[in-house]
């Protein structure tokens, strides 16, 4: 019988066709996948990597790094260590004149003042054996353990110190961990403030966005289209323009104060302080993020059949009960999506709060930008960013556990 082979043949051809289809589908998606990998996954991985790995010191001064690792951070520094340090610095300078200063900058972060001592050492041409005494002759600091301890801390390429620092903890030369000085510690407080601000902004967005979405979903299509345009209009305006507009509105000589004075509500001497404080941050951020709340809410409400509420009313429920027990539960996927979107976006905000928030407008992202742009301590910036990312992922996980991701509706 010839049926047997032809069935097998058919199966094979079918499988081949499926494979081809899968391959084609994969090739279609490949550019996007590659793009996501290159522009998203790879930078994030390199970010995490930078937070734990910094070989500025160990790459330039490998022997010194080894000796520092073996040193107990208490006993006097050995002559070997002094010699290798001086000689390796000189070697490094021959290859690239900028390397010693780069190393010194890294050391300086753990022991302030080390930079100029190391530079002084580099310019001392006559420095030779005995190296330790020679160094001490240049500056008495070299005879003390502090500067060597600072080097011991920065010597290992793999280090938890950036993550510790991101949590206001510091590593000691002997490996133990201490709290950052009271006047230098800021990260935990800023994480907490960022969470609070993001939470408050989400709450206000919900408070303002829910009625607007309700209105949008329940008026005629023509009116709702017009209103939707009004909601979206600020969306198409530059963030900076919107933020600056708030400054023009809220400042002491601004529109709001002028109107209030003109109306006689307040006197000229007692203009309201609405700029450069938490109030301004909350107002401006809520305004900027409002569309992210309204859009998912609107799309969910649009899909809710009016017959349910009508049925509830006809069965004797009060207006409130019908709304609260029948209508509102159906909007939860939209509420969840909107809140999650606004919250996550608010966590990463920094331009708006920095411009309008004054002293209170400093959030964790500002510190990340500060270390990226001003101190050039990219490792610390990476560590803080990674923690922020982990926090957002944790919240996302919590959300999926509590509300369920399948219930989220973005529009």
């Amino acid at each position: 019988m010839s049926a047997e082979p032809s069935v097998r043949d058919l199966k094979r051809r079918l499988a081949a066709a499926e494979r081809r289809a899968k391959l084609r589908a994969f090739l279609l998606v490949a550019p996007l996948l590659l793009f996501v990998l290159l522009s998203f996954a790879f930078p994030i991985l390199s970010l995490v990597w930078r937070g734990v790995y910094n070989d500025t010191f160990s790459a330039a001064l490998p022997k010194t790094a080894q000796l520092l690792r073996d040193w107990d951070a208490v006993s006097p520094v050995s002559e070997d260590l002094c010699r290798d340090f001086v000689e390796e610095m000189r070697e490094a300078r021959k290859i690239n004149a900028a390397t010693p200063t780069r190393v010194a900058t890294v050391v300086n972060r753990e022991g302030s003042g080390s930079l100029s001592k190391i530079k002084q050492m580099l310019s001392a041409k006559s420095l030779g054996a005995p190296y330790c005494d020679g160094l001490a002759g240049l500056d008495a600091e070299w005879a003390k353990p502090e500067i060597w301890r600072a080097m011991k801390i920065v010597a290992p390429p793999f280090t938890p110190r950036f993550f510790l620092q991101a949590l206001d903890l510091r590593e000691n030369a002997d490996g133990s961990i201490r709290h950052e000085d009271e006047n230098q510690s800021i990260h935990r407080m800023l994480f907490a403030r960022t969470l609070t601000v993001a939470g408050a902004v989400t709450f206000f967005c919900f408070l303002l966005g829910f009625p607007v979405s309700y209105l949008l979903a329940h008026v005629e299509t023509r009116t709702s289209n017009l209103l939707l345009m009004v909601v979206l209009l600020p969306f198409w305006t530059s963030l900076l323009v919107r933020t600056t507009a708030w400054i023009a509105l809220l400042q002491q000589n601004g529109v709001v104060n002028d109107v209030l004075v003109r109306l006689g509500v307040i006197t000229d001497e007692h203009r309201l302080v609405m700029m450069y404080n938490m109030f301004a941050t909350l107002v401006a951020m809520t305004h900027v993020l409002l569309p992210f709340m309204i859009l998912p809410l609107f799309s969910v409400m649009k899909g809710i059949k009016p017959s349910y509420v009508r049925a509830a009313l006809s069965l004797g429920a009060s207006e409130w009960t019908a709304f609260w027990r029948v209508y509102f539960p159906q909007t939860v996927p939209g509420v969840g999506a909107g809140c999650l979107l606004v919250f996550i976006l608010a966590m990463g905000y920094y331009i708006t709060p920095a411009l309008v928030g004054g002293q209170s407008g400093q959030l964790i992202s500002n510190i990340i930008a500060f270390h990226m742009q001003t101190t050039l301590n990219w490792s610390l910036a990476s560590a803080i960013s990674t923690l922020l990312l982990a926090g957002v992922l944790l919240l996302y996980w919590l959300y999926t556990r509590l509300v369920g991701i399948e219930k989220m509706k973005l529009g």
């Binding site: 900058t105 302030s112 003042g113 530079k119 002491q252 203009r271 001003t374 101190t375």
Partner: protein
């Protein structure tokens, strides 16, 4: 007679410049500076005459200081900035880190009075990688309409909320503010950096700053202090002296500068390492730091030229009636109590103190 020699020298300088420039074909140079009134003064005094002479064009862009962008460009090997206006501390650290080209001081022309460039420039104005243009001062200014009675005159008045109530503007950076706090707390100008080098000194500075807590608005760009004063958001603010002078004179704003405790800093030209137009940039540096352009710049902003030969040529503001000399940081009457910013100190302590300052501002 003197006039003609000056002219002849100038013509000679012009001739050599024109020759060296015409050898290269017309090109464009990307020049990075601090924006606002300051960039305008450079455009009028340096850029326009240079472009007219050489036929090259200049593209101006602004930045707010710091070396992050230069570092990124140099490390990626894609250097698009040809010339950048920096402060001595950045000029020094950038030079150390290999971010700037080494410059040849022999290329700087003599002063119009015939003095050698190295004698003509003020001390510290010519570095390995940078050539100074002007000295500016960090001062504080106030809105005189807000204080009808007693006026602030001393650096300590900035911290005196009882006599002079109202918000203060301050740059979001440890530099300048810590020195100011110490001077206001009674430390003599000569001892400021000695005190600041100790832990107690730093604590003392921050303690003084604490007294302004809750009354501060921070600024970052040089143009902001004048805006903050004009909008009534603050009654007093630290600023670069030229940024308050211009609106006060040109627009008649009631801004008054307090010179007590002024902190002088130079502005300098540096060429990012690997600029494809290094020679052209050097040509522009030589031109712009010659006697006449430096003196001309004072027409547009009250910053003091760093060439001695420029000082006698400083005349009136562009309005034609305000004498510039009394408004210069380098005017003897304004230097009763002043310091020059210590580059070495800040190279050592910038990171540590700035981190503490940022922590302080966040709380």
């Amino acid at each position: 007679m003197k006039m003609t020699t000056t002219k002849a020298l100038l013509l000679g300088a012009v001739g050599t410049l024109a020759l060296s420039a015409s050898a290269a074909r017309a090109d464009s140079l990307t020049v990075i500076s601090w924006g606002g009134q300051y960039t305008k003064s450079q455009t009028e005094a340096y850029q326009k005459p240079w472009m007219a002479k050489t036929g090259n064009t200049i593209v101006s862009a602004d930045y707010n200081g710091g070396l992050a962008e230069v570092k990124a460009q140099v490390e990626s090997g894609n250097v698009t900035w040809d010339l950048i206006d920096v402060e001595p501390s950045e000029a020094t650290s950038g030079c150390n880190d290999g971010l700037f080209e080494k410059l040849d001081p022999a290329k700087l022309p003599k002063g119009d009075n015939g003095a050698d460039a190295k004698d003509d420039f003020l001390p510290g104005a010519v570095l390995d990688c940078a050539v100074g243009t002007i000295a500016y001062a960090n001062i504080f200014g106030y809105d005189s309409t807000k204080f009808p009675g007693a006026k602030p005159t001393k650096v300590a008045d900035f911290f005196d909320l009882k006599t002079f109530p109202g918000k203060r503007g301050m740059k979001k950076e440890a530099k300048v503010n810590l020195e100011m706090a110490l001077m206001a707390d009674g430390v003599a100008a000569a001892d400021v950096y000695k005190v600041l080098a100790t832990k107690d000194g730093v604590d003392r500075a921050f303690k003084k700053l604490d007294t302004l807590k809750g009354n501060l608005v921070f600024w970052e760009a040089g143009a902001q202090p004048a805006q903050l004063l004009a909008s009534g958001e603050v009654v007093m603010t630290t600023a670069y002296n030229g940024r308050l002078f211009a609106p006060a004179v040109a627009e008649g704003k009631p801004f008054v500068i307090v010179w007590d405790g002024q902190q002088q800093v130079f502005d300098m030209w540096a060429i990012p390492k690997g600029s494809k137009k290094k020679d052209l940039a050097m040509d522009f540096i030589a031109f712009s730091t010659s006697t006449k352009p430096l003196a001309d710049q004072a027409k547009y902003i009250s910053y003091g030229p760093l060439r001695k030969s420029s000082a006698p040529l400083v005349g009136k503001f562009e309005d034609g009636k305000t004498d510039m000399a009394p408004n210069m940081p380098t005017n003897p009457a304004n230097m009763g109590n002043y310091i020059v910013q210590d580059v070495k100190f800040w190279a050592d302590h910038y990171d540590e103190l700035n981190e503490r300052f940022v922590a302080w501002t966040g709380k």
